[in-house]
Symmetry: C2
C-alpha cells in the first residue's frame, strides 16, 4: 500500500468546541479571531423563532423557524441545546452539526453555562469546553462598568450575572486567563490541535496500524 | 488585590509526559528537540544497577545504585515504574519526579508500553501519553532494515518487537503520525500547552475566581 493511500486511511471525527465566560472576559473577540485563522472550524448556526433583522441571512446567521416548528423540533429531540431568551426561542439543531463532525471538521458554540450543560449531556465525547476568565478583578470591573451611561442598577445586575456565570468554571475542561487576545487565541488553537490528535477521535487508526504491523 | 498579586495566585501542577513508539518511528529525535525548545520540561532520570559508563554523570544520566538498594526501593514502592533489562535493573524513583511536578514543571519519560502501564497505575491524572507512529509501512521497513550489516534474523526480531509495541497504541491518549520531525515536535508542544491549561492541573483557581466574583 502506498504512503498516500495509507494516509487517506486516517481521518478524524470533528469536535464541538464550546467557550463560555462572564461578559467582559473577551470571549467574543477570541472566537472571531479563531474563526478567521482556522479553516477547520465553523460557528454553529442556531434556530430561532424571532423574525430576521435587516441583513441577516437565513441558514447563515440563523435558521428562522415558526414557533410551531420549534416546538416540534424540541419534542422530537432535534436540538443539542435550546433556551428561551425573553420572548424568543433559540436552539442548536443537531443535524447540521452532526454533518460537520462526520466530515472531519469542528463546530464552535457560543453558549452560557446552561447551554453547555445541555451540550455536555447530548454530545459527550465530542465536546471540548473552555472557560475564559478575565485577567483580574480590576479588569473585570472596568469592562462591566465602562458603558458610562448605564445606571448603578444595571451595572449591579451585570456584575451579579458575571459572578453567577463565573461560578461554573468548575464544569469546564480547560481554563484560559485572557491577559492578551493574541496569546489567548493561540492557546485555543493549541487546545484544538491537541484535541484533534486524541486517539478516540481518529478514524481508520486500527487499519492504519494493522497494515504496518504486517509489512510485506 | 493587584493584578500581579492575583496572577501569582494561579499556579499549576506539572504533568508526566510519556512518549512511546516502535523503534524507528522517530520518537528519540522528537524528544531531544522538545527538550531543547521547552524550558518547562525535563527528562526523567532513572536509577540503575549497572555500573556507570565513561562520561556518565551520577544524578544527571542515571542514579547509580547497588542491587541491594534497588531491591529496597522496589519493596518500599519508591519506583513509579521499574524493569529488568538483560542483567541490569532500571527504575524511575518517584521522589525527584514528585518534586518537579510540585514546582509546576513537567517530566518527560522514554519508556515502552510496559513502563507506561506502570506509570499509568502510579500517576493517574498526572500522566499524558502519546504514541508516535511511523508514517507508512515502507518507512518503517526502511528504518528497521537500514543497518545493512544486520542478519535477517536480527531484522525479523526487530520487526516482531515493533509489531508488538505498536499493538499497544490503543492505551495512549494522543496519536502522532511522524511524517516530519519539526511538525511532530510542534504537535507535542500543542499537546503540552493544552494539557497545561486543563482545569484539574491549576492551583489556586478557586481563590482566583472567588476574588473576582466579589469585586470591591
Amino acid at each position: 500500500m502506498s504512503k498516500s493511500k495509507q494516509k487517506t486511511l486516517l481521518g478524524r471525527r470533528g469536535l464541538m468546541l464550546v467557550m463560555s465566560s462572564p461578559s467582559g472576559a473577551g470571549k467574543t473577540t477570541i472566537a472571531r479571531e479563531l474563526l478567521g485563522r482556522d479553516s477547520e472550524i465553523a460557528m454553529s448556526v442556531s434556530a430561532t423563532t424571532r423574525p430576521p433583522r435587516p441583513g441577516e441571512v437565513a441558514g447563515k446567521d440563523y435558521f428562522f423557524v415558526s414557533e410551531e416548528e420549534y416546538q416540534r423540533m424540541v419534542s422530537k429531540g432535534e436540538f443539542l441545546e435550546h433556551a428561551k431568551v425573553f420572548d424568543n426561542y433559540y436552539g442548536t439543531p443537531r443535524e447540521p452539526v452532526e454533518k460537520i463532525l462526520k466530515s472531519g471538521n469542528d463546530v464552535l458554540f457560543d453558549v452560557d453555562w446552561q447551554g453547555t450543560q445541555q451540550l455536555r449531556e447530548n454530545a459527550r465525547d465530542d465536546l471540548v469546553s473552555i472557560f475564559v476568565l478575565p485577567p483580574s478583578t480590576e479588569e473585570l470591573s472596568r469592562r462591566l462598568t465602562e458603558r458610562a451611561q448605564d445606571s448603578e442598577d444595571v451595572v449591579r445586575k451585570r456584575m451579579a450575572k458575571a459572578s453567577d456565570e463565573m461560578s461554573h468554571y468548575i464544569e469546564y475542561d480547560y481554563i484560559i486567563v485572557n491577559h492578551e487576545i493574541d496569546e489567548s487565541v493561540e492557546q485555543v488553537q493549541s487546545i484544538l490541535e491537541a484535541e484533534r490528535m486524541k486517539r478516540e477521535r481518529l478514524i481508520g487508526l486500527h487499519e492504519f496500524v494493522e497494515c504496518m504491523r504486517e509489512p510485506k
